[in-house]
Symmetry: C2
Subunit: 270 residues, 2 copies
DNA sequence: CGATGTGTTGACCGGGTTCAAACAATGTGG
DNA sequence: CCACATTGTTTGAACCCGGTCAACACATCG
């Protein structure tokens, strides 16, 4: 496939004609951020606090959903934001010519519908993948509450800010990693997301079909299946008996090293 | 490459086990939104209004940048948001293992640095690709101004909301289109972006190298070059004399139909 | 039981990567 | 001014990863 990673190695991105002049905020960058266990539990607690705050201030309408339910639909009139209290959801983009693309997933504490604020209509579908509960918050009411309660606006902005990075990360994954590594990286991401919900990460059942994973990662379901088989062969994951959707991940970090190893064949950046 | 579009045709995404139950806001979706000429000039005016508003309320620090300058750097401490007044910029993600990925571009009226709000540090590099000017706005000051001036917050939220869609769109492009179509779609996007800045769209000079385009689109620079040559051969674009960076696009809509034609070989969705 | 949806695996082949060579544009120093 | 290096672009040829097609296994369900 597109090994742009190696391409970038042979022809690195020109940072500029005369070299960088340095950022305005010149602090040392630490790009290697990865959530530690303490941070994860910390984030878990923050999510609980946020949900409690919203519940107290706005008494949002709770809505129970089941697998396949649409929370909001692309093109539909924007009115509410939604917060995931439980379950998980996929975000699906649809193009005018019928292509549909899974562009992300949402878990407990994530918000749905931010893309509707600017356009006045949602830009994508949000679809439940399991039984769960979302809280509907009319945007106008949220704004009014922000005027009353000063602690609310920072929470909202942080949530919107968090929407930006994931799509960029998966774009990078799709553009720079070969198929096997993309699947491994996806499993790592999934385990990390579960951990942030306080769920166990060493063993879980994927509620996604191979086709959905493949669509999200830009490959066919056959390639996903082959990649998973290979990962199982290498003991990076293990399938539980009874169905190939129960996955065990003995060591999540091993998946990360596998991803990096896929780029190792071209170790020298220059 | 990965024709997941056709894969989706043979194995369409399951919307759910029992079918969709309908969205909360059940208005008719119009997914086929594309900016008309009136909308473009309208948006152009809105951008001007926004810049004027911010200038009057906050007197932001103006900063002239040249090609290659870093506006902010991934990992750097978050403090300011930036608004593009002129020039254009690329957003580059960098992974811990050295991969770097162009994940988007910014033009006049776009904001930079939203991804830093949640983390407290920027998640990516913002790099000028030409001489231009950005306005630095300390986030704390912006929040204070929002408290004074009620019209500011909706503008800010709309800007943040607009950050969500582009990355998703390019993810879809990368995942569902073959190389030729991706390049065509990129040119269409670029022309559209220039139009929204009030610049001419029928003839312009790409300030990007083939390597940068390829990185953004998930392919090698050679493939970009070949795709451009093919588009020129088909008279969808034309190269100006003196260098292969001056591009003429006689009819932008022809590019759109070309993209759709790349999916035509599999016309029946079922 | 058959029907349907999902997952696995194999064989083939084609689009895109890789490697290589050549050219154009630009700058640099003697 | 030319020689030379550098960077970006184009084009060709060979290879290979991943898409395509097909067959089969397995589960659930009416």
């Amino acid at each position: 496939m597109l090994n742009t990673a190696t391409a970038a190695a042979t022809a690195p991105l020109p940072v500029g004609s005369r070299g960088a002049r340095g950022p305005v905020d010149a602090t040392l960058p630490d790009r290697t951020r990865r959530a530690s266990r303490a941070e994860v539990s910390d984030e878990c607690r923050q999510v609980g606090d946020t949900l409690r705050l919203l519940n107290d201030l706005l008494a949002p309408q709770r809505r129970v959903v089941h697998a396949g339910d649409l929370v909001h639909q692309g093109g539909g009139r924007f009115g509410c934001l939604y917060i995931v209290n439980s379950g998980f959801f996929k975000i699906v983009n649809q193009s005018a010519d019928g292509r549909e693309q899974v562009v992300g997933f949402k878990f407990r504490g994530d918000w749905l519908g931010f893309d509707g604020i600017a356009r006045g209509s949602y830009a994508c579908d949000a679809i439940a993948m399991d039984t769960g509960e979302v809280w509907a918050i009319p945007y106008a009411e949220l704004m009014a509450a922000c005027a009353r309660e000063a602690t609310l606006l920072p929470v909202l902005h942080a949530a919107m800010s968090r929407e930006i990075a994931p799509a960029r990360d998966s774009l990078m994954s799709v553009c720079t990693l070969p198929a096997d590594a993309r699947v491994a990286d996806f499993l790592r991401y999934w385990a990390e997301s579960l951990a942030q919900c306080g769920l166990r990460t060493d063993h879980f059942t994927l509620r996604l079909t191979r086709a959905e994973i493949g669509n999200y990662l830009g490959m066919t379901l056959e390639t996903v299946s082959r990649a998973l088989s290979k990962l199982a062969r290498d003991n990076l994951i293990a399938f539980h008996e009874k169905g190939r959707r129960d996955v065990s991940i003995p060591d999540v970090r091993a998946l990360s090293t596998f991803v990096e190893r896929c780029l190792a064949p071209v170790p020298t950046l220059q």
